[in-house]
Point group: C2
Chain length 514, copies 2
């Protein structure tokens, strides 16, 4: 079933059909903010010096089939996953042990830990943490042919594409249902004409999480009281701004909360903590309204997730400055560190301590087993370990991917590249990497993608499903809010190993459940 559903999907497009669909997608995207700022590859330097141009986000023309059992299971597990990563974040000792194994080999992890230690020394003044998470999966085709849900990674910082993904769903749904009656936007196909992509409340879910934190912050800690706001910390050169604006629009319009954007490089200039206020409120003075001062309840980081945002000691100072403030961080440094691949690998270890049950005390054991069954086999590369053996053997390496601690795509080493890559590194650095068995997606899935330069590519694809969740918790472990909702389907051409949508290597997709 899993294989056969893909065999004649998507339907062929005549030249006229493709032209129509591509025009419809291009126009719909701009009409509805399914957009990105173009890269220099599309608009050469000097052409758009005022930065006004935009283009469609890379999207598939068709929604992709995805097994309903896997989609439902991923959805069902999101809140328990939220709880798991909140619980890990609360266990500084356990997390510290993991981190200590990485400090020697991963400067970025080491510096994040230093931020934590510095703030710990001074004393944290905010006991609430907010997580806007995305758990990413593939539908693994098992030996029996049945699809099984396997986790690719769990994102604890800057989980992106909720805003754009909800719009992709809306676009495909409109194309499938308009005009009324049998849709003629697509050639006939039984799957296309019986299903509409499931509702995608990613924007509502993520912004509700931010709103919940804003509310939980309570009254101003300043005297006299200051107006409260949420701040999005963003990259100065961000091109994926419209994804972020989808959330800030919702916060402003639906939740009536002031939202400001502060570039990571401007943090130290535009925000400050009054030295005479031991509650350490984070104050923001908008450069466009210097006579106004807001108190930041919630910091939503869409920057500081990778070493690229920490190129100078000033960047680390900014990070420490935010971390020591009373603002609720989404995420805290500790929560960010819980997203290390090493954590995922330790949780997945089949022998030794049952960390999963320890972190999910009081949770129904059958639910814990369902979480555990989403883990793909993964290994560290310690001396004489199974991981090292699998990675160095060119034959077994073919079935694996090597991942650094970093979130997001762009840094993974695949298959036959693994042994040579490892041998090029000093052995002492190997502990920075985790070896993961490749998940085996449907072999014959296909789709047609419209890149953000307008090129149309048809071919074999691999899809990755992300489920969004939000959680707000106290450092005691007490949970104030735990919710899930909305999804991302990211589909890439098979010849491409990485999944960075914004870079145009892959596309935002819709879901047709089967």
């Amino acid at each position: 079933m899993t294989q056969s559903i893909y065999s004649n999907y998507p339907p062929e497009l005549s030249a006229a059909q493709q032209k129509f669909l591509v025009t419809a997608v291009k126009d719909w995207a701009i009409q509805n903010g399914l957009a990105v700022r173009p890269s220099p590859a599309i608009v050469p330097a000097g052409t758009d010096q005022n930065g006004v141009l935009a283009t469609n986000a890379p999207v598939t023309l068709f929604p992709s089939p995805f097994p309903r059992t896997c989609f439902d299971e991923a959805t069902a597990l999101q809140e328990i996953y939220n709880e798991l990563y909140a619980s890990i974040t609360c266990n500084e000792e356990w997390l510290g042990d993991i981190v200590k194994g990485l400090i020697e080999v991963d400067d970025f992890v080491a510096n994040l830990w230093k931020v934590h230690l510095a703030v710990k020394k001074e004393g944290y003044v905010q006991n609430l943490s907010l997580g806007l998470f995305r758990s990413d999966y593939m539908a693994h085709v098992s030996a029996t042919g049945d699809p099984a849900l396997k986790q690719v990674e769990f994102n604890t910082i800057s989980s992106s594409f909720g805003g754009l993904s909800a719009r992709v769903r809306q676009m495909h749904a409109e194309f499938l249902t308009s005009p009324p009656g049998p849709s003629i936007n697509y050639p006939f196909h039984p799957l296309l004409h019986s299903e509409v992509p499931p509702e995608n409340p990613a924007v509502e879910t993520l912004s509700s999480g931010l709103a919940r934190a804003h509310e939980a912050y309570g009254v101003s800690k300043s005297t006299p009281a200051l107006p409260l706001c949420v701040v999005f910390v963003v990259q100065a050169t961000e091109r994926n701004v419209f994804d972020q604006h989808a959330l800030s629009e919702q916060l402003k319009k639906v939740h009536n909360i002031p939202v400001f954007r502060v570039a990571s490089v401007d943090v130290l200039e535009q925000t400050f903590i009054p030295s005479d206020n031991s509650a350490r409120p984070l104050l923001y003075r908008p450069p466009h309204s210097p006579e106004s001062t807001f108190e930041v309840t919630t910091l939503y980081l869409r920057a500081f997730y990778s070493p690229d945002d920490h190129t100078s000691s000033r960047d680390w100072d900014a990070r420490t400055h935010l971390e020591r403030s009373a603002a609720i961080k989404c995420p805290t440094v500790l929560n960010q560190l819980s997203g290390c691949k090493k954590v995922q690998q330790v949780l997945a270890e089949p022998t030794g301590l049952d960390h999963l049950s320890a972190f999910l005390k009081g949770v129904d054991p059958s639910l814990i087993e369902r979480v555990r069954s989403t883990f793909a086999p993964q290994y560290d590369l310690s001396a004489n370990s199974k991981g090292r053996e699998l990675a160095l053997n060119p034959e077994t390496a073919m079935n694996h991917v090597l991942k650094p601690q970093r979130e997001g795509g762009g840094n993974n080493i695949y298959k036959s590249d693994i042994p040579g890559f490892l041998q090029s590194l000093p052995e002492s650095d190997w502990m920075g990497w985790v070896l993961m068995e490749l998940i085996n997606p449907a072999a014959n899935a296909q789709n047609v993608a419209l890149r953000n330069d307008g090129e149309v590519l048809r071919g074999d694809v691999i899809s990755e499903l992300g489920i969004y969740g939000t959680i707000l918790w106290e450092d005691t472990g007490k949970i104030l809010h735990n919710n899930h909702g909305g999804y991302l389907l990211r589909t890439k051409g098979k010849e491409v190993n990485e999944g960075g949508v914004a870079a145009g290597f892959s596309s935002l997709d819709g879901v047709l459940l089967f």
Copy 2:
């Protein structure tokens, strides 16, 4: 009052304030479809061969003050103006007399008339006409200093910018009210902080008009019955597509009506009238779904409004083909001709027959006088006429504008250019032009515009208010639907004489009533 309100408006912007506002506008525009496709001046040929790029429509950073009395009066008169132009269109003999005076000097008018005559000879099969009109005005500063509403022109075909204008209103309103409390998006100004631009239901009004015609068409005239649709006839190279999509989205989503776009050059290929059906239904076969056939209830022309869309006999054949069909035309050729400047000038003649009262039989005379008082003095250029005298005298010419019959900007001759221009034409062509006294807008109005290339211009401006109206009528004069709602404020730099927003010479604006 009229003058003083402008004296300190808009407030000055610091560099940081301008940077913030410009970024906010650029992003809001793309997030919300307040966009246009860029011209070759912005994106050089060869850079975006797939046509994916978009940019913000040209907009003002601030909404412009506009006298409430003028705005209210323009709104109050729209339905009577709708009725007036429906009534003129029903009087083929009267309109024919006007046209006959232009046939010698205006090929475009002559050819439109030929289309009418050809269809009349065969016999019209559709007795309903739809008008989507826009009446354009300025707030004229009279000698007493009070503002008076003066009509610039009345558009009976392709009245554009309803879709984008509604979004400009939404943008300014959001900037003025968000975050909650005193807005800090703008520097403080009493006018900005006491008023929000009035609601702008242009999209609802215009699409309701189209929906009303679709419904009035009745059942399919084909055997067996075909599904019904609305067709937008558009220019193949249109850059202002998102303005049009705002209407088609509303028709599809709210009115549940199938809408298709047909380029004017494709009309003869994609639509046909079965020769064996004397009811002459217009059938449309979508190239992307050649097995489907729809019957067109309503043709909304966003092309064929200027000679540029009629460059070959094939274009005129297409126009005739549409006109002879059973589809309800928005507009018919006769209705398009009623928008000739000559009609406006004849209506405005202070002596001779009272055409206005004749066309508005049964209408309250005081209401007719209010319509009449919106007319600016205007003249034909016949021998020994007052118009000729005013146009040729360099001193009096300075107070006038010379207009051809064409809708829209780009063809007018202003002030000192008038005498020389006329002298360059054979005298026999002068009858093609109408001389109109210049309306005197507030001398010291200012605003700041963001062009669609991102350049920011501050300076003296002139604003033109357009009010949208829709009317559906029978050729007997019976009115089935008459409605108004929504507006456009178009603001141009004073050094610019023309008002073509799409060309980037001028900007879409908001309205602050005072």
